[in-house]
């Protein structure tokens, strides 16, 4: 069996779950096997939606997320169905709890993969390494635990018939006690799944100036990103940071405003399909990695960009 972990926000499946489903179906076909799903919830989960995509869905409600509880849930499902492969959308949280799962299953762990195929009974996948600069082709014998990098795979279509739910018994495990959630105000689409990312760097000059970044991102239906310097300065939260110690994004369009282009930042966005840079310094390294750019002051260029996009939309 191929077990697919369906990630969600409580109400809807995340886009990454539909990418993981596509990969899981392809692996199952190549292995002459079938796909079963597992849907773990803190309180509620979109089981109805999930049942459109899998014939069998294991569900469990586990209370506040912890890596141990989620690992136990996935493990219970994997053992129940005798999973040869566990496939999940890649996120920081999934890459944590699946590290536990991979160890427990003594599985080959293929993290953040771009593609995956079955060759001679083993799974071959490609992924980035060395801070996103090198493409690795890797192979692992079954069983494998594989995470799917967002924005790499077509979304799965629903099945013709609705699946059935099975309740999963999840053993209790020693874990952390969640004291306080510091939820950030949700603004628009998630950074790692966004098709357009607009990032501001130190060149924006101030926290206040980020309203221009927010406005452009909202107008384009994209997400806001930030550089490390900006996060360190306290202008933006860590969750928006793109780069080596932040998130890795691969949108169709990445717009870097007042970003110099340090290697650590490039590591988080250099695989974007199109890169646009606006910077007043014509020598800024970001221009070497840009498809399009404007040498100019962000405080003049960004408002003009906002107006130009508005005109295009009209």
């Amino acid at each position: 069996m191929v077990l697919v972990v369906l990630d969600h926000d409580g109400n809807k499946l995340r886009k990454g779950s539909l990418e993981a489903l596509t990969r899981a179906r392809a692996l199952a076909e190549a292995l002459g096997s079938k796909v079963v799903g597992v849907l773990l919830a803190e309180e509620k989960a979109p089981a109805e939606e999930a049942l459109a995509y899998v014939e069998t869905l294991y569900t469990a409600t586990l209370g506040p997320y912890t890596a141990e509880k989620w690992a136990a849930g996935v493990l219970a499902a994997a053992r129940q169905v005798g999973a040869q492969a566990v496939v999940a959308p890649s996120s920081r949280q999934s890459r944590t709890y699946l590290g536990r799962v991979a160890y427990a299953l003594k599985a080959g762990l293929l993290e953040d993969t771009l593609e995956s195929t079955v060759e001679g009974g083993a799974v071959v996948a490609t992924r980035y390494a060395y801070l996103n600069r090198v493409t690795q082709k890797v192979r692992a014998a079954l069983p494998v635990v594989l995470t799917v990098k967002p924005n790499t795979t077509p979304l799965a279509e629903p099945l013709p018939t609705r699946g059935e739910v099975k309740t999963l018994e999840v053993p209790s495990v020693p874990t952390v006690e969640v004291l306080e959630r510091l939820q950030e105000e949700k603004k628009g689409v998630s950074l790692t799944e966004a098709d357009i990312v607009v990032t501001g760097g130190r060149g924006m000059g101030s926290a206040e100036a980020f309203r221009l970044v927010e406005e452009l991102a909202a107008l384009l239906g994209g997400a806001v990103g930030a550089t490390r310097a900006v996060v360190d300065a306290g202008w933006r939260p860590y969750s928006e940071q793109v780069g080596q110690t932040g998130k890795t994004v691969q949108p169709s369009l990445y717009i870097a405003l007042g970003v110099s282009g340090a290697v650590q930042h490039l590591a988080g966005m250099n695989k974007s399909k199109y890169i646009v840079a606006v910077n007043k310094d014509p020598e800024a390294p970001i221009f070497k990695h840009a498809d399009y750019g404007i040498v100019g002051d962000v405080h003049q260029v960004v408002p003009a960009l906002i107006e130009a996009v508005k005109r295009l939309k009209d």
Binding site: A67, A129, V138, L179, L182, L253
Partner: protein, 247 residues
């Protein structure tokens, strides 16, 4: 109390990488203590300074990894253990190899980097926690000991949270946890005399690298002059709409 930092040596992000025979060739690269692991070393030193005990650095990797272990010792760690392996080992195999070594030390807690700058893996801390049968707190930005437990702040996919965890536990680092100190000259001198115990790698890698390539995307490099911001913005939006077709 014993505080263990698990570290690896990686190429500096600024180093130019090249490919030789389908593999990354690091012969020309500057190799450093992984910056995410450096936070781990610093955190164990701070814990030791505050609560007493011993800061131990456990390194995994080829013989050259001893340089990174010596860096951690120069920062102030008391002694090192080096699990030596010349090839590529995936995080599950590394966790298997390190678990026994760490269990023998019976540490208060273990800290390691949130992501590796060579394999881009985020799994070592979690795999290690599973191997040790203890909880993991990933992407930690604050850590305080409170008796038999620790209170920690860590990042989630969206937002962050405070958790309490019974020790021992494994923590993985995130930027913001601390500002790592630089080794001092006396520190470097002292580090030369500190013990680094060598342990042979036992285990079998589960993931094999078949090929490595560097695929740098050729960028269009159409850079416009922004002296007239309105005209430049208009032209950029036209290009994105008509040429790139992303708007």
């Amino acid at each position: 109390m014993k505080f263990v930092a698990v570290i690896r040596q990686v190429p500096d992000g600024e180093s130019r990488l090249k490919i030789q025979g389908n593999r990354v060739d690091l012969s020309g690269a500057t190799l450093i203590l992984d910056q995410m692991d450096e936070y781990a070393v610093e955190e164990t030193l701070r814990l030791k300074e505050k609560h007493g005990g011993e800061a131990i650095v456990v390194g995994f990797g080829p013989e050259r990894t001893e340089e990174a272990i010596r860096t951690a010792l120069a920062m102030g760690a008391d002694r090192g253990i080096h699990v030596v392996y010349e090839g590529f080992a995936d995080p599950v195999a590394v966790a298997e190899a390190l678990a026994g070594v760490i269990q023998e030390e019976a540490p208060t807690l273990v800290v390691t980097g949130g992501q590796q700058a060579d394999w881009d893996s985020q799994a070592l801390g979690a795999a290690l926690a599973e191997a040790l049968g203890v909880p993991v707190v990933s992407w930690t930005t604050a850590l305080e000991l409170e008796g038999e437990t620790a209170k920690a702040k860590h990042d989630l996919d969206e937002g962050a949270e405070w958790v309490r965890v019974r020790l021992p536990a494994v923590f993985t680092t995130q930027q913001g946890l601390n500002e790592p100190r630089y080794p001092t000259l006396p520190g470097i001198m002292k580090a030369k005399k500190k013990e680094v115990k060598k342990v042979a790698f036992q285990g079998a890698p589960k993931v094999e690298i078949l090929e490595e390539t560097i695929q740098e995307k050729t960028r269009l490099q159409k850079i416009l002059d922004g002296k007239d911001p309105v005209a430049a913005a208009e032209e950029l939006v036209r290009l994105l709409h008509e040429e790139a077709k992303v708007l």
